[in-house]
Symmetry: C2
Subunit: 349 residues, 2 copies
């Protein structure tokens, strides 16, 4: 994978990069997606206001970018690739809007979440409108490419997401690592994989071996991505206004789970009692306790292990597809190295 990383850096980087900054995702694809999202206007003034608020910070748009980059590499028509990229991005955003209501999460991308700003009923309708647009674009992608199966793929991803979300918030106990992995696999992997697999399905040649390799690679990268996001959330690098956000909300977070799984007897009981207390006073105390352990380091190791697994699976992919994975891989690699991946024993550079 290291050669891919170097190759991509040569292709996409526009100059010297500060080694402390994460590798940039392609801004060309981001600009295309952002502009297309802004041109979608709901036929209702309240939902229009929601759309402006929500897409003012459009996020990394990783899923859509992966679809666009795959389409570019494989020579898919720009119209078809953009339609599918929009479909996965719109569905991802619909799930975020609804998940924030379920999880009572009041912030998203450093601003008020849609339900916090406009109320849960408007947010439910806005999520439904985004879902409708997602499927409209999946249908457009099928017509533009003359293929079938994209709508079914989007529907399967949405069914997986809604089941995983239902499973997550009704967990009575804070999840252990095994449960966390199941939740992440249901919530993060389907749409990340769909961006690439959907675009692949638009080519004449469908290769089961390649599909399986993409599946395995993205299962590993998707988990790594979610775990890395959790580390960012815990250490306060993700722009969340409240430090300790996941901790204060007792939201499943890889760092907290690894810390909790390492506690024994009375310590575990004391931490669980704190997590289960709705008041949850003193998050800073527990944050300090967690930072005194090697929980962040062990969580970073989990990202590293998944990068190794992704590297291994990606070997059976054609070179051009490996290139598509490189920006995401490099971003995760940067997360690991900046968090002390030298201690993991894997030298990715």
């Amino acid at each position: 994978m290291s050669e891919v990383a170097v190759h991509i850096a040569g292709n996409r980087s526009t100059g010297e990069r500060n080694s402390n900054e994460p590798p940039a995702f392609s801004t060309r694809e981001q600009t295309t997606l952002k502009s297309a999202l802004e041109n979608l206007i709901p036929n209702d003034s309240a939902l229009q206001t929601c759309a402006q608020h929500h897409f003012a910070q459009s996020g990394k748009m990783l899923r859509g970018q992966l679809a666009l980059m795959t389409g570019d590499t494989l020579g898919i028509s720009a119209h078809a690739a953009l339609a599918w990229a929009m479909s996965v991005e719109l569905m991802h955003n619909a799930s975020l809007v609804h998940d924030d209501i379920c999880d009572k999460d009041e912030t998203r991308r450093g601003k008020a979440s849609v339900w916090a700003a406009f109320g849960a009923p408007t947010a439910i309708c806005f999520g439904d409108w985004l879902t409708a647009q997602s499927f409209a674009h999946a249908a457009q992608a099928e017509v533009a490419s003359g293929t079938r199966g994209l709508v079914s793929m989007a529907a399967q991803a949405m069914a997986d997401l809604s089941c995983s979300q239902a499973h997550e918030f009704r967990q009575m106990k804070y999840p252990d690592w095994k449960t966390y992995e199941q939740i992440v696999t249901g919530k993060t992997v389907p749409l990340l994989t769909a961006g690439i697999l959907g675009t692949l399905s638009m080519t004449a040649c469908v290769d089961t071996q390649i599909n399986n390799a993409v599946d395995k690679t993205f299962a590993a990268l998707g988990q790594a991505y979610q775990i890395a996001n959790d580390i960012d959330n815990f250490t306060g690098d993700d722009g969340h206004e409240n430090l300790n956000h996941d901790l204060a909300n007792a939201a499943p977070n890889a760092v907290i789970i690894i810390f909790r799984d390492g506690l024994k007897n009375g310590s575990r009981l004391a931490f669980d009692a704190w997590l289960e207390d709705p008041a949850r006073i003193g998050a800073s105390h527990w944050r300090d306790r967690i930072l005194q352990t090697d929980a962040v380091q062990h969580t970073t190791d989990q990202v590293s292990q998944r990068l190794v697994a992704a590297h291994k699976s990606a070997r059976s992919l054609p070179e051009d597809l490996r290139q598509i994975i490189a920006p995401l891989y490099n971003y995760l690699l940067h997360t690991c190295t900046s968090m002390g991946a030298q201690a993991t024993g894997h030298n990715f550079q």
Copy 2:
């Protein structure tokens, strides 16, 4: 239309019918749909429980029945017609589950609504799961019939539904008749029409004139259906546990709107003040006041007028399509006659 009604009665009725009972919708189609819905099982135990609860009372399944009857009449493959019928039913149910959260409606089909029984977060996820299944079935219907356009039609209906729902609940004032008609046209008409138009689109011959006539006929029947449902809700015939349900919740209801539109000056101000008071004590008093006026009669007249309009539009439809409309038409006709349609001046029999 009267000849159609008689014709259908001869085709579908299985014996003598008490003239006080509404004409039965076909039970064959209902049984097929109910069984297919029960076979859909979410991959999450909480959502499974939701599905069992929600579909224990599956409702009239009017939209799905219209699709199945159209498919039968036009010789569409049973698999394709059922897939599309399921798609519109699943989307209708998804919108009910989400709308009940938005409207804080605690009962549905005489039982606790999903959010009242399982909480809003689970209900949001269940609605999303139903939406995913709806689009999966629309895609199946496209493949089974070798056509395109059903997914786009479902997506357009969902976009219309979510915009209308957002518009409805954030109305600060109780709607007047004009606003009510707009809301109903957005919320009831799209999926009723989609059941028939989607199935029509699966035939080789698409006839714009027929599509327009179906559109106009169902715009009229859809409004008539919603207004008739509102009369049932107001008079307590719809199985809602709480009499005065819409009144007590200040929910838009055709009878209440016609009563309110007829009030002048101080009376209107007094009623508006009561509607806007969250406590809304004394719904029975206002119900009695409304029943002392001719509001129910005038509302029934609105149903009658739309039946006349539907009758007129349906004249340009082929006989076999007119037959499909007859059961719904007869049901609405019964609603009118049992509510005193003799006073409307239209003799539908």
